[in-house]
């Protein structure tokens, strides 16, 4: 007999296991529907392989594992996929999650499948692949994909089989051991083979299950199928909750502690639940995926408590009917044990792979906790904590949301066993505080990660914008130099021409070019000036005036060009020419718009100038305005300025004003959109559809806004807060 160690703390709640130990494991009639959540395990949810309407056979894989830590899902019976939709899943949140719904056809016909009893001839990789494809996850409650656990990087010297079942009420593993001991031993042998036959294989079992222990020991003695049966040892130890926790069991059986934040594999230990070994046996030796399990249904609200072999996906109510559940007696239904299970939102949720128990207690059997009183620091919680934490300190810090101190007090090492809440004389829901704090810490870490990432991306973005800016500046510089060189050349040539008149004709073709460069030159100069004097209103005015001049000039020139083209049109009827004409028209339109825009801006500047002075305190606004014409500068800045202005305006307004403002803004956008549409139509652009669509959306939005506005006007005093909310 191996030496056993004690764990710190622990409690002895009433066991209540006799109720469900009355009979054998019972079969459950085939339910009409099976609901299979895609996420029944820890890790990424499986991805569906079937469509609605597909016929599936029993044991057919209907959803594949996605990623390393994941598990596939199989059809527990034959039938038709009726839906792949969000359904309430058995989870503490009571939320909905994607599920595959199968309507059973009653045939229960298997897909072709086969297993092997010569598993020792297969390699570990082959067996692990089989286990993975069978969708086997830990059946003890957490639901960690088993195949992942069987691929440790370290050498394993101890395989621990968890037959503790330390939670009160649950007897599923107990019953399984009593009835399927031989299969379990083969399952264990498969595990041992996969892990390279570790030196020790320990089956840990509490001393409150003497029958199961006896059956296992006998089976072990008589076993001929198991090759290294001598390495397997059934270890009995005193009953104490939570000795079935993986870390606790390891401590009991080996005296070692799993270092915080590490895995048992780091100690050369792999731990598997006894139910899992049975599932592995069925997967390897019979080729049957995990489509059913043994579940205890118990509690005084059930007239016939017992253990049931139930298909995964069976609605809870179907199973409860078998146990003659009386809903009137049961204030809350728990999936799992009383210490770590979670309450179910309703009885239509399905049984999943990790459902080891349905606990339907009556109000007398498990009275609602009295209201929590103040912590009297009695320290019972610290005495029973199996992780040797200081639960009351954690409680204080969790209350004050002092996450740093919580981490310093090793909150992460809390296994949420509930022993502290159980003994608390003030009945404080300690575990809930820890869960909330853990979730909050996780969330903060995630936000931190995201914000770091955003910062990085923003910095890259900035760097890119700056680089582009520099490149553009360099190009401009180069062009300017080229222009100057050309000018110099021209002047030199002109000089030369003066000196030598014959050369003039030779130079004529180059005339257009020089003109172009001359134009470019002007633009360059303007841009340079813009860059140099962004802030000064006087300069702005100058700039706008100049812009008006240049745009007017361009307009005139463009119209001239069009004239020329039109004249030419008659002469040469080529499509090329027509396109050119179109283009020229567009250019004119654009030039006209610019011209008008510049005029407007000048007017605005003239009227706004007194008001523009105080705005200087927010320089980026002006920068943004000054830059609107300069496409090279960061447009984000413009958008920021706009957003900021909007926010500032909105904040100072009443909800109704906000609505009004919103409507006006929408109207504005609509007008713009309509203008764009008109323009697009006139140009015959391909984007007409998109623009008209946008106009339609905006009209719709505008209508909603108006509706809200009228609502707000009709009921201005009723609920201003809600309107604000809708608005924001």
């Amino acid at each position: 007999m191996s030496k056993i160690w004690d764990i710190h703390g622990g409690i002895h709640p009433a066991e209540n296991k006799q109720q469900s130990l009355g009979g054998p494991i019972q079969a459950v009639p085939l339910p009409d529907v099976l609901i299979l959540p895609l996420s029944q395990h820890i890790g990424a949810p499986a991805s569906p392989l079937v469509k609605v309407g597909d016929k599936v056979l029993k044991g057919q894989m209907i959803a594949a594992a996605k990623g390393f830590v994941s598990a596939p899902i199989h059809a527990p019976s034959s039938g038709v996929v009726t839906a792949i939709e969000e359904q309430t899943v058995p989870h503490a949140s009571g939320m909905q999650a994607p599920c595959i719904v199968i309507a059973t056809d009653g045939d229960d016909s298997w897909i072709e499948h086969s297993g092997t009893t010569h598993y020792r001839e297969k390699t570990a990789e082959e067996l692990i692949a089989m286990i993975r494809d069978a969708g086997i996850t830990g059946l003890g409650g957490a639901g960690f994909p088993s195949a992942v656990k069987l691929q440790p990087r370290q050498t394993i010297n101890t395989l621990i089989i968890n037959a503790t079942e330390c939670e009160p009420y649950i007897t599923a593993d107990d019953q399984l051991m009593r009835h399927c001991a031989d299969d379990i031993l083969i399952g264990i042998d498969i595990l041992a083979h996969i892990l390279g036959d570790p030196e020790r294989v320990l089956i840990g079992i509490e001393d409150n299950k003497p029958e199961a222990q006896q059956v296992l020991a006998t089976a072990l003695q008589n076993s001929i199928a198991v090759e290294n049966a001598t390495a397997i040892e059934v270890v009995e130890f005193p009953t104490k909750y939570p000795s079935g926790g993986e870390k606790q069991l390891i401590q009991i059986l080996t005296g070692e502690e799993v270092p915080s934040g590490q895995l048992p594999a780091n100690l050369g230990i792999v731990c598997q639940n006894i139910g899992t070994t049975h599932a592995i046996y069925r997967a390897i030796c019979h080729g049957e995926p995990l489509i059913s399990r043994v579940t205890t249904v118990t509690g005084k609200a059930c007239d016939k408590p017992g253990n049931f072999e139930v298909l995964i996906g069976t609605p809870v109510e179907h199973l409860l009917t078998e146990a003659e559940f009386n809903s009137a007696l049961c204030p809350n239904l728990v999936m799992g044990g009383p210490m770590m299970g979670f309450t179910l939102p309703n009885t239509s949720v399905p049984i999943i792979k990790s459902t080891n128990c349905l606990l339907a207690t009556t109000a007398e059997e498990n009275p609602a906790p009295p209201p929590a009183q103040a912590c009297i620091r009695c320290g019972h919680c610290a005495e029973v904590c199996p992780a040797s934490l200081l639960p009351q300190q954690l409680y204080w810090h969790a209350q004050s949301k002092n996450y740093e101190r919580l981490e310093a007090h090793h909150l992460a090492d809390c296994i949420e066993c509930g022993a502290c809440s159980y003994v608390c004389p003030s009945s404080i829901p300690l575990v809930q505080y820890y869960r909330a704090a853990k979730g909050e810490i996780r969330l903060i870490a995630e936000e931190k990660r995201q914000s770091d990432r955003a910062r990085e991306r923003f910095e890259h973005h900035q760097a890119r914008v700056e680089r582009e800016e520099k490149e553009k500046a360099a190009k401009r510089e180069a062009r300017k130099l080229a222009a100057e060189a050309a000018k110099a050349k021209r002047e030199a040539e002109a000089k030369a021409a003066e000196e030598n008149p014959e050369g003039t004709t030779k130079n004529t073709p180059a005339d257009g070019d020089t003109k172009n460069t001359g134009e470019l030159d002007i633009v360059q100069a303007a841009l340079a000036r813009v860059a140099a004097n962004k802030a000064s209103p006087a300069d702005q005015r100058k700039r706008f005036e100049r812009a008006i001049e240049t745009t007017a000039a361009r307009l005139a020139k463009a119209e001239q060009a069009l004239e020329v083209l039109n004249k030419d049109k008659n002469a040469e009827q080529s499509t090329e020419k027509l396109a050119q004409i179109e283009q020229q028209r567009a250019t004119i339109e654009q030039a006209r718009l610019r011209h008008e825009e510049a005029k407007n801006k000048l007017a605005a500047l003239n009227t706004d100038q007194p008001a523009a002075e105080p705005a200087k305190s927010k320089p980026q606004t002006e920068t943004a305005t000054a830059n609107t014409d300069d496409p090279g500068l960061d447009r984000a800045a413009t958008a920021i300025a706009r957003a900021q202005k909007n926010a500032a305006e909105q904040a100072s307004m009443s909800p109704q004003q906000k609505l009004l403002k919103q409507r006006d803004a929408l109207q504005n956008r609509l007008n713009k959109a309509q203008a764009r549409l008109v323009q697009a139509e006139s140009k015959g652009s391909e984007q007409i559809d998109a623009f008209s669509n946008a106009v339609a959306t905006l009209v719709e939005k505008l209508a909603t806004a108006e509706l809200k506005l009228t609502d707000a006007e009709n009921a201005p005093n009723q609920n201003p807060a809600s309107t604000t909310e809708e608005n924001s």
């Binding site: 955003a454 890119r464 920021i640 713009k672 959109a673 623009f691």
Partner: protein
């Protein structure tokens, strides 16, 4: 003789003081150099606390510039995406009292939202791509754009520039993986719910409803 000795005494004292001053000066100087604490510059520490949405609601073109502005004396309550939590973190970093969020810059959103492009309406104008401060929009001219949801900070700077108004800000739905238990209601409220409206372990600070009920 006496005069001489007193002079000597004075001299000794002066020399001793000078020697001491020199020694300590050297020690201090050495300590200042060798034990210098290499910390982040303050602006980086502040930047680390900001939510990095880069939304510009604060009036600065990004979080880093706002961090720099805070170093230069700007108020710390201008960041709506960060909300009160960020203000408190900043206040504790800078050791100043935490003000309320400045409503002028917008309200704290309760649920995070991200941009979503209605792709069949997108005309591929790239305006949103240029507006995005974290390059979270993918696309090229005349081709449909899409948002990389994981990278979107929800700043909504892309909504306004869109000419066809095809960008929506959608709230990020809660999933099973990011759900977690909420802390139990404060004992006071829990008891109020359960029983006749009196407080069990109410905080004595909450004068609002406590006094209401007493009155």
């Amino acid at each position: 003789m006496d005069e001489l000795s007193s002079l000597e005494l004075l001299l000794t004292a002066v020399i001793a003081l000078v020697a001491l001053a020199t020694v300590f000066g050297i020690i201090l100087g050495y300590a200042a150099v060798s034990f210098k604490v290499e910390g982040n510059p303050l602006a980086d520490q502040i930047d680390a606390l900001l939510p990095q949405t880069q939304c510009g609601n604060c009036g600065y073109p990004g979080c880093k510039p706002y961090a720099q502005a805070i170093v230069d004396g700007e108020d710390i309550n201008k960041c709506p995406p960060g909300g009160q939590a960020t203000i408190e973190a900043l206040a504790s970093l800078l050791d100043v009292p935490a003000p309320e969020l400045d409503a002028e810059h917008g309200a704290e959103a309760e649920v995070k939202s991200v941009a979503y492009i209605r792709e069949d309406e997108c005309i591929g104008c790239t305006k949103c791509i240029q507006a995005c401060p974290v390059d979270a929009i993918l696309g090229a001219a005349k081709l449909m754009h899409t948002v990389i949801v994981d990278e979107c900070t929800g700043c909504d700077l892309c909504v306004e520039p869109c000419p066809v108004d095809c960008i929506d800000m959608l709230e990020v739905p809660q999933t099973l993986s990011d759900w977690h238990w909420q802390a139990p209601l404060p004992p006071a409220e829990r008891f109020t719910h359960a029983q006749s409206g009196t407080h069990l372990i109410a905080t004595d600070r909450g004068t609002d409803h406590t006094t209401d009920r007493a009155a």
